[in-house]
Each structure stands twice: as structure tokens, then as C-alpha cells.
Symmetry: C2
């Protein structure tokens, strides 16, 4: 089971980007998850910033966006999962 | 100069996904652009749906998110550009 980087609407994009870059360097792939427009927006911006960080290390990452169903309390919600991995 | 698929917060995700899939089939790459959280959210969802459409054609697309500066009237705004192309 891989760890998931959960992003909220108030998450700082550079902090999330740093986490993404760290996980990609260590385990080759990061799973980023967000629910709702504000959170998805922060997550995508963080991926763009992380691309820059990883390019400096010669790592060219791409994003694969997929829908996942998650349980929040007793409610099923659709989350956006952004898989970040080397091309 | 490649065409840009502009996405708004009120854009229908399946319509945008259809446009993305069509452009990728024809010209191998689609440029999707959104400004603001609502629009970026719709754009990412459309990319996830387009991935499904294109998988049916045996095309595995990935997303490269980058920031671009655009002029809206006389104001410079930062847009999110999502480049969708085969892996």
C-alpha cells in the first residue's frame, strides 16, 4: 500500500510540491489526492511546481489523473487522484 | 501555433473530454488551459475522462501541467496549461 499525499484547498502548493518531489525521489512514484475544486487546483499547481524541482535532478515526471471513490466518514466521495511518476 | 482548449468553471467535463480526445487523435497532442480553481478542476476531470476515451483506442495519454502567463484584456494572469499527449 503506497502512501497518499492528501491535499486540501488550504494546502501550501510549495510544501505539497516538496513532498511530491521527495516521494518520487525515494520511491519513484507519488500518489496525490484531492476532493473538491479548491483542493484539486492546489494539487495540480503543486504537481507543476514539483516538475520543476525534479527537472533539476534530471527527472522528467508526468501526471496521470484518475477518479477514485473514497470513504469520508460514512459517505462515499469521488476524489481526484494524481499519480506523479517519471515518464 | 497549436489550438488551445479553454476550459471554464462551467464547462461540461464530458464535452471537454471529447474535445481533448478528438485533438489527440488528430494531432497527437492537446493543450488545455484553465484559470481559477473551478476551471482547473473541470480541466483535470476532463483529462481523466479523456484518458478513458483514448484508452479504448489503445492510446495511453499522460498530462504535463505547466504555468503560463496569459493576457486577459490588459491584465496578466497565470493560467494552468495541461498538455495531454501519448506517453
Amino acid at each position: 500500500m503506497e502512501d497518499i499525499i492528501k491535499v486540501a484547498a488550504r494546502s501550501r502548493t510549495t510544501a505539497v510540491a516538496g513532498a511530491i518531489a521527495g516521494v518520487v525521489r525515494e520511491s519513484d512514484r507519488a500518489n496525490v489526492q484531492a476532493i473538491g475544486a479548491g483542493a484539486v487546483n492546489q494539487a495540480v499547481k503543486a504537481c507543476a511546481i514539483a516538475r520543476g524541482y525534479l527537472e533539476e535532478d534530471g527527472i522528467n515526471v508526468i501526471v496521470i489523473p484518475i477518479f477514485v471513490e473514497v470513504m469520508i466518514g460514512d459517505q462515499e466521495r469521488t476524489a481526484m487522484r494524481l499519480i506523479v511518476e517519471p515518464r
